[in-house]
C-alpha cells in the first residue's frame, strides 16, 4: 500500500523551461538530495492515482519516483 504524499521540492528551472528537482524535503523535515535524474516522462501514478511528469530520481543509492502534478510535487510513500 502506498500513500500519495505531497512534498516540498527545491528545483532548478533552466533557460528553456525544463524543471529539475534538486532536493526533497520530507514531512519530518529531513532533506534528501536528488543525486541524479534517471528518467523524465509524462506518466500516471499507478500506485497512488493522478498523473503528471514523473521523475525517476537516484536518491542515496536508490531509485524513487517524484511526480510533478498540477504545480505540486508528490511521492508514492510506502505505508
Amino acid at each position: 500500500m502506498r500513500t500519495k504524499t505531497y512534498v516540498k521540492v527545491t528545483a532548478i528551472f533552466d533557460d528553456i523551461g525544463n524543471i529539475f528537482p534538486k532536493k526533497i524535503e520530507w514531512e519530518d523535515g529531513t532533506n534528501y538530495e536528488v543525486d541524479k535524474i534517471i528518467d523524465i516522462r509524462p506518466c500516471a501514478s499507478t500506485k497512488c492515482g493522478g498523473f503528471g511528469i514523473r521523475y525517476t530520481c537516484g536518491i542515496r543509492g536508490k531509485e524513487a519516483f517524484l511526480f510533478f502534478e498540477d504545480n505540486r510535487w508528490f511521492v508514492e510513500r510506502k505505508d
Partner: protein
C-alpha cells in the same frame, strides 16, 4: 453493386452505394474518433489513492441537496448491475447496494480532457473536440499515413499512451469519414480500436441500427421506423428527396452520413465554430409551482444568457425554452422574434409569454427550466423593429451593466426582481455564482 432483400415487394433488389466503390468520396482519408471510456468515472478511479476501486462498482453523481442527485457516469463494474446514466441515485442503489458514489469534480475532468487533447496533438494538428471526452483526429496527409490500417496503428498507440500517461482507457474508431469513425468508437468498448473501412460496409455498417448514426436520436429513429427504415443500409437505399420530405434538411444530411459520403473536415485544434445558440438552464432547489417563481428564475436565466450574447457580440431572433415537469416529462417550446435583441428585458418578456402559453404551473409544477437564444445574428448589423421605440436606451443600459460586471464581478449588479427571494434560486450558471453572491 449489392443485393438486398425487400420484404415489402418480396423481391431481391440491387442498390449501388458509392461508399463501397474504390473511387468514392473520402477515398484516401484517415479519420480517427477517440472516446474516453466512462470518462467521469474513469477519472475518479484513476485519481483515487485507493487502487482497489478499479474492482468495485463506481458512479459519479450530482449534488443531492441541490436536487441534481442523478447518476452522471458509471464504470464498467456498475454497468454490470444495470446502473444507468441519468437515473436517480436511489434507483441505482437499489440495483447495486455496494455502489460507490463519488461527487463530480469538473476541474479535474477538464485537466484530464486537456491532457488527452495534448496527446492527440502529438499526432496531428487537426483535433476537433466533441464534448469533454471525445475528439476527431484527421491523419490524412500525415507522413506515412495513407490507409486506415496506418490509422489503426496510430489509434492503438494513442490508446497505449493514454493508459500510460493518464491511467484511463479510450475506444477509437478508424474510418475515412467522421461519421463512421464515431460509429467505430461506439462499436466496441472499452479500450478497443475498431476499423470501419469500405470493405466492411455491407457486412458490418449496413445492418447496424440507424439509431447508431450520429445525430439520430430517439424521435428520428422512431420516425424512420414508422416508414420501415431500421438500419443504416435502409437509409442509404432511400431516395434523398423522400428522406428530406420526412425529416427536413436533416434527412439529406442523414442520407450522406449513412452512405459514408460525409466530407466535413476535422477542424484545426483551437478553431471554434460560431455558436448557433446560447442557453442556460437550472434545476432549482424547489419545484416551480407559481408564475412569480418562474419569472424570478427566468429573469436570472435571461440575464446570464444575454450577458453571454453580448460578450460574443451577437443578438438572437428567437427563443427556445425547455421544461421538465415533476413527472420528469421534458418538452420544448420556441418563439420567433420580429427583431434581434440581446436585452434581458426583451428575453424575459417573451419567455414569460411563452411560459404562460405552454405550462399550467398550478396543475403541473416544473422541476427544471431552461432558456436558449436561437437564430443568432451579428450584433453590429442593426435590426430595428418597426414597433421598437426605445431609441437605443436598452443597449446603453446593457453596455453599462457589462462594464460594471467586467470591473467588479458578475454579481455586482442585478435586477431588483432577483433580490426578492434568493432561496428559490441558488444555481451556478456558466461559472458565475449568480445568486449565492448576492449579499
Amino acid at each position: 453493386m449489392s443485393r438486398t432483400f425487400d420484404e415489402k415487394t418480396q423481391n431481391t433488389k440491387e442498390f449501388f452505394c458509392p461508399y463501397t466503390s474504390n473511387h468514392g468520396i473520402n477515398r484516401g482519408r484517415v479519420v480517427l474518433h477517440a472516446d474516453l471510456n466512462n470518462f467521469f468515472a474513469s477519472v475518479e478511479c484513476a485519481n483515487s489513492p485507493d487502487r482497489s476501486i478499479f474492482s468495485k462498482p463506481v458512479a459519479v453523481c450530482g449534488n443531492i441537496e441541490m436536487r441534481h442527485g442523478i447518476i452522471l457516469a458509471k464504470n464498467e463494474k456498475a454497468k454490470l448491475y444495470g446502473v444507468k446514466t441519468g437515473e436517480k441515485i436511489s434507483d441505482a442503489k437499489k440495483k447495486c447496494p455496494s455502489l460507490i458514489l463519488m461527487g463530480a469534480h469538473y476541474d479535474l475532468y477538464m485537466r484530464y480532457s486537456r491532457a488527452a487533447r495534448k496527446i492527440y496533438q502529438r499526432y496531428t494538428d487537426r483535433v476537433e473536440p466533441f464534448g469533454m471526452d471525445e475528439a476527431w483526429l484527421e491523419l490524412t496527409g500525415n507522413d506515412g499515413i495513407c490507409t486506415v490500417e496506418d490509422g489503426k496503428r496510430v489509434a492503438d498507440e494513442i490508446r497505449k499512451v493514454l493508459k500510460e500517461e493518464l491511467g484511463i482507457t479510450a475506444s477509437v474508431g478508424v474510418s475515412d469519414n467522421k461519421i463512421f469513425a464515431k460509429l467505430g468508437s461506439d462499436y466496441k468498448k472499452p479500450d478497443a480500436t475498431t476499423v470501419l473501412a469500405r470493405d466492411q460496409y455491407q457486412n458490418i455498417i449496413s445492418p447496424m441500427p440507424a439509431s447508431e448514426i450520429l445525430y439520430v436520436g430517439r424521435s428520428t429513429a422512431a420516425r424512420l421506423r414508422s416508414y420501415g427504415i431500421t438500419t443504416i443500409g435502409d437509409v442509404a437505399r432511400q431516395n434523398p428527396h423522400f428522406l428530406k420530405s420526412i425529416l427536413g434538411k436533416n434527412g439529406e444530411a442523414l442520407y450522406t452520413y449513412c452512405r459514408g459520403e460525409d466530407t466535413s473536415p476535422v477542424a484545426l485544434f483551437g478553431e471554434v465554430p460560431a455558436a448557433k445558440s446560447m442557453g442556460n438552464s437550472t434545476t432549482p432547489p424547489k419545484d416551480i409551482s407559481s408564475f412569480s417563481d418562474a419569472k424570478l428564475i427566468l429573469s436570472s436565466l435571461c440575464d446570464t444568457v444575454c450577458s453571454r450574447l453580448r460578450a460574443e457580440n451577437t443578438k438572437c431572433r428567437g427563443i427556445k425554452m425547455n421544461f421538465r415537469d415533476i413527472n420528469l416529462c421534458s418538452f420544448e417550446r420556441q418563439i420567433k422574434l420580429d427583431f434581434a435583441t440581446s436585452s434581458a428585458r426583451d428575453l424575459l418578456a417573451f419567455s414569460c409569454r411563452l411560459l404562460a402559453e405552454s405550462v399550467d404551473l398550478e396543475k403541473t409544477p416544473l422541476r427544471s427550466m431552461g432558456i436558449c437564444a436561437i437564430d443568432l445574428v451579428p450584433a453590429d448589423i442593426p435590426q430595428i423593429s418597426l414597433f421598437e421605440k426605445d431609441g437605443g436606451k436598452k443597449d446603453v443600459i446593457d453596455s453599462t451593466v457589462d462594464k460594471l460586471r467586467l470591473r467588479f464581478g458578475f454579481s455586482c449588479v442585478s435586477t431588483a426582481l432577483t433580490l426578492c427571494d434568493r432561496e428559490k434560486l441558488g444555481y451556478i450558471a456558466r461559472g458565475y455564482e449568480v445568486f449565492t453572491n448576492l449579499r
